[in-house]
Amino acid sequence: MHRPAYFRLIVSLSWLLLSLLLPLVVWEFAARKIANPVLLPEPELVAASMMELFSDGSLMDDILASLQRVFTGFFIASAVAIPSALLMAYFLPLRRLFLPLVTVLRPIPPIAWIPLAILWFGLGNKPSYFITALAAFFPIFLNAFAGGIDVQPRHIHAARFLGAGRWLMVRHIYLMSALPSVWTGLRIGLGQSWMAVVTAELIAAQSGLGYMIQANRINLETQHVLTGMIVIGVLGALMTTGLGWCEKLILPWKYQRQ
């Protein structure tokens, strides 16, 4: 059974539509039952809020503020976590020196760092960079480390027999062996970072989606709160999906091509 491509596209879009429609119906039904827009506004009300916030530009500003914080924190985390994880994977003394520290720091959730972040960096962007970087750091670090120690002895032996010098060895054997795990870490790290930015902004910022949710909670503008939540969810899902597509470019050997 081979259907044409457009047919399969229509089918999968229909499923997507259905899966989005279903919770919407439940929501509508529940909102009418509760009949209190502060507790649960109807979908129409949230849609109107979304239009309003988009048209006055404030939602876009908040989105950009949050995205900028996430990507800054994420890049800082990547730049620190990947090299340090790989160095610790390849050099035993470094591993012995620093791995216990990482093990102890890891269970501390990013939210527990917020008081220190405010004390150290005040309010605004800096504490948010710190929190998003922290949230992304551990998944990136731990996966990169696992990738680093996963290099196969037979690959190392094979490369030596083939005459590889130090540079070829690092670039083509060690780094390439670690790449799939590093990539997994980056994917998880970006998701964690996105969740952490909202946490950070709830407390330590004057802009962004987290701040917007917090401010509207105080004013009992629940429809704006829901707008913020939906935008966070959709953007997070888009990031995850986008990275999934990039994977075929970054790890082409994991995908069939003949």
């Binding site: 032996h157 490369a159 030596r160 083939l162 790890l251 091509r257 003949q258």
Partner: protein
């Protein structure tokens, strides 16, 4: 089996039709590979012992001395746990002996170098590189002016030139091993080490690979050291077989395989071949039981 047996014994060019696929590959070999006349590939082991515990009490390999001549095909044959892979690792420099020394062409072996190359049982290809890049890796590392071209030459040799641009995981186990062999040969090693290279393949593929190896081996790698636990494989391929003793590992018996034995159409019907095979099987069985019956399972 028959064609392979014919090509095995020096009459290669006459035995193979020059218009055939095999004939084309042999011309490729003749065009660019070191001639078997250069006498490189002498492997010398002197009193080699390997022990993984410090007091030397539990030797994996105990006091092995042997010499392998250039161009020889030598097999270490024995049950699992007899130290045959350990011995191979020592010859390749992947493992340093606890006692004794190894040299190739008079140079002591202390680390893996391109003097040797190795084909492992499976999964040793760099899976992140396309097939051609895997084979070109050696020539590139050694500064060859045209690594890609060199890779293609060796891929043609193993009949996989059409698969140059795919990633290894798209290939079957047998094809992956052919790529691994091409990659190993592309650095023109003096000694080719093969650690149960066909052990993970199904019986049919395995027998075809054995024939392929026989076709390849004369002109390409001067000396081959092969590890297997399969008696028929050892008899088919080797000039000399070292039957291994178990726990501690060592050489139990050295058997020179008479080429004439396998030249007949069906060596299995040859009575002396059959006798030899039975004798080796009995020896291996004896060694296996020795490991099997020890209360600690041979540890």
């Amino acid at each position: 089996m028959h064609a392979a047996t014919l090509t095995r014994f020096g009459k290669m060019r006459m035995a193979v039709d020059p218009r055939s696929e095999a004939g084309r590959r042999l011309r490729d070999i003749a065009a660019g590979c070191p001639s078997p006349g250069n006498a490189v590939g002498t492997v010398l082991l002197r009193n080699v012992s390997v022990s993984f515990v410090s007091d030397h009490s539990l030797a994996v390999v105990s006091d092995v001395s042997l010499m392998i001549r250039p161009g020889e095909f030598v097999t270490f044959l024995g049950p699992s746990g007899c130290g045959k892979t350990t011995l191979l690792n020592v010859i390749g420099g992947m493992l340093l002996p606890t006692v004794g020394e190894v040299s190739i062409d008079g140079v002591p072996v202390t680390a893996p170098t391109p003097v040797c190359n190795v084909v492992f049982q499976q999964h040793s290809l760099f899976e992140w590189m396309r097939v051609a890049d895997n084979v070109a890796f050696g020539p590139r590392a050694l500064g060859h002016p045209d690594p890609r071209g060199e890779a293609m030459r060796f891929l043609r040799l193993v009949g996989l030139e059409d698969y140059a641009e795919v990633y290894p995981f798209t290939l079957s186990g047998g094809m992956q091993q052919r790529v691994a062999i091409a990659r190993a040969l592309a650095t023109a090693p003096s000694v080719l080490l093969m650690d149960e290279p066909f052990g993970a393949l199904d019986a049919q593929t395995r027998s075809i690979m054995q024939e392929e190896l026989l076709k390849l081996r004369h002109s390409v790698a001067p000396t081959v050291i092969f590890v297997t636990h399969d008696v028929d494989e050892a008899l088919l391929l080797s000039d000399r077989i070292f039957v291994m003793r178990a726990a501690p590992g060592g050489l139990k018996e050295e058997i020179a395989v008479d080429a004439d034995l396998r030249r007949s159409d069906d060596p299995m019907r040859n009575e002396s071949y059959h006798e030899l095979r039975q004798r080796i099987l009995a020896q291996i069985r004896e060694e296996t039981l020795k490991v099997f019956n020890r209360p600690d399972g041979g540890r």
